[in-house]
């Protein structure tokens, strides 16, 4: 899907939105201060650093990891991450033999409390169409090559369960503390298009 519509100039889009907002405010249907809170929350306060903390905790605390895999919602809530579009969480673990990839083919469902809002590519037609059909090709586009005998599991978020990939902890990180480990964990690794790597 292209960023700019072919038939309507950008300024018309801006006018449409201004018209909508001004009327909704005048009718008392929306409160502008609430709009600001909504924007600030998802632009500045909620993002993939949350999920990275969850991953780093699971890597360093076996008990936490077990809780995360058996009741993801409760374990994620232990770190203070709850809410909209993450009320019912499932964590899927990458191993040397199994690699997980998440998608929402029908729209763009994504675990907001741990990853924030999804990137444009995740919501786009190319990803939504190909992730279920050619996961290896998709991973290759992100520079990820997996051995043929690794099982790729593609999770299509058709219901209200929201999926978070627990990536494998890379080798050579044994001496790193939880914060340093969290800094290695990218959003893309928690979607499943890449593995976590140690910068050389």
């Amino acid at each position: 899907m292209s960023k700019h519509r072919h038939t309507e100039p950008l300024s018309d889009l801006v006018l449409r939105v201004k018209a909508l907002e001004s009327l909704l405010v005048e009718k008392g249907l929306v409160d502008p201060a609430a709009l600001d809170v909504l924007i600030d929350t998802y632009e500045n306060k909620v993002g993939p650093r949350n999920g990275a903390q969850v991953v780093a905790r699971a890597w360093t605390d076996a008990g936490y990891k077990a809780r995360l895999l058996s009741d993801a919602g409760a374990a994620i809530a232990e770190l203070g991450f709850t809410g909209r579009q993450g009320e019912d969480m499932v964590v899927v673990e990458n191993t040397p033999k199994v690699h997980n990839l998440t998608v929402c083919t029908l729209c763009s469902c994504y675990p907001w409390p741990v990853l924030g809002l999804p990137p444009v590519w995740y919501k786009s037609a190319p990803y939504r169409s190909r992730a279920v059909r050619d996961p290896r090709g998709v991973l290759r586009e992100f520079g990820t090559e997996l051995p043929e005998d690794v099982e790729i599991r593609v999770w299509d978020s058709t219901a209200e369960l929201r999926y978070l990939v627990l990536p494998e902890r890379p080798a050579g990180t044994e001496t790193l503390g939880e914060d340093e480990l969290a800094a290695l964990v990218t959003r893309d690794a928690m979607i499943g298009v890449v593995k976590v790597t140690v910068p050389t």
Partner: protein, 103 residues
Amino acid sequence: MNSVHDLGGMDGLGPIVHEADEPVFHAEWERRVFALTLAMGFYGAWNIDSSRHARERTPAAEYLSSSYYEIWLSGLERLLDETGLLTRAEVDARIATLRAGAV
């Protein structure tokens, strides 16, 4: 409904374009559409399933050539009109006023 939002397995949609370090919102209007959609969701005139279906009912060719928040805008306009909270006529009138620089 068997429409184009049901993209799983469709071919020919091109390479995955990914922008490094992309911002959460690419324009101010996207911020507004995001917030208006959520705020109206909380208002309670419709549920999340109806709101998804409203986006799905964006005409097929428009859906495929729209950016993500354009589809959200399309869905929100549709729901507001269908519930009578804000009709397309009212919005069109306001657009005309804004365009004339009268506000």
